[in-house]
Symmetry: C2
Subunit: 175 residues, 2 copies
């Protein structure tokens, strides 16, 4: 269908100019209300093998799932503010009550490998805009329903929301 | 000396808070006129193993050396504009005449692994500010004197300018 063709055109690295205007790149919420995600330079879209960069905007109240991953992740906060919930307890049975870390425009922080975390726009009045850098793309995310779910019960979400279309497009469309 | 102690205090990952204000991080030109470099999250300073992020400002006319590296590198242009010179000829004897790619605020581009390149603030009126992401830190850079120097003659600069102090501080200070 025309729809499948349109999807597929986003998934090819061919035809991408070397220098790209970020504001002209595809932006979508990928089914998550309050999110605007742009893959600035990515594994599936642009053939990156070791690093991937996202530009994400969270409207007030929007948050990531509670999750962990074995890749490194760095945040650079461009606008707004929010809260990082971080449970440094990958050696215990479950994440447990997380520590709260407030951050602001011009903050940077990185997530220790395999620590469960959640990023939340806790500012009611402003969008939160961040650049996110990960290693070893595409990202493999384990999602927790709550902070006391055992690590072993966290559910792998792969491909992740924004990688789904291009990694599995034909299969998904035919189901 | 007090000087050495002051240097050393920049080199420890201990005492770094999880959330850091980028504008309070050490900024220096590391001996390169016209450059302002901040390691936002790095291998030597913050214990990153797979990714490193820099915030760099180039005054008008400032440029990187002609260089190559086997890591991946992504640029995100925050302010200003400039020119990327890129020679996609790692299979030939020398880089040769590079292609020119103009970029602007909100541009992104990445450097193909091992391609010789140079980033230049060719805008006479404005500073160029970029976020730079690399894989496999700390960066190992091979520098060319010109575009026709053989790949085999390019000279390894390791540790690179901003990694020098912390990777070799005691040795250097005693020479
Ligand atoms: Zn994460
Ligand atoms: Zn480079």
């Amino acid at each position: 269908s025309a729809n499948i063709e349109a999807d597929a055109s986003h998934c090819s690295i061919k035809g991408f100019p070397l220098v790209r205007n970020i504001s002209e790149l595809p932006q979508d919420n990928y089914g998550r209300e309050g999110l605007a995600h742009i893959t600035v330079a990515g594994s599936i879209l642009h053939g990156m093998k070791e690093i991937e960069v996202w530009l994400q905007t969270f409207s007030p109240g929007t948050r990531t799932p509670i999750h962990r991953h074995s890749c490194e992740e760095i945040f650079i906060v461009l606008k707004g503010s929010g809260t990082l919930y971080l449970a440094s307890s990958s050696h215990e049975k479950h994440p447990g009550k997380p520590h709260e870390h407030f951050f602001f425009a011009n903050s940077t922080f990185h997530i220790p490998v395999n620590d469960a975390h959640q990023v939340w726009n806790t500012n009611e009045n402003e969008d939160l805009q961040m650049l996110v850098v990960i290693s070893r793309p595409p990202v493999k995310v384990f999602i927790y329903e709550d902070w006391f779910m055992p690590h072993t019960a966290a559910k792998l979400k792969f491909p992740y929301f924004w990688d789904e279309q291009c990694l599995q497009s034909p299969v998904k469309d035919e189901l």
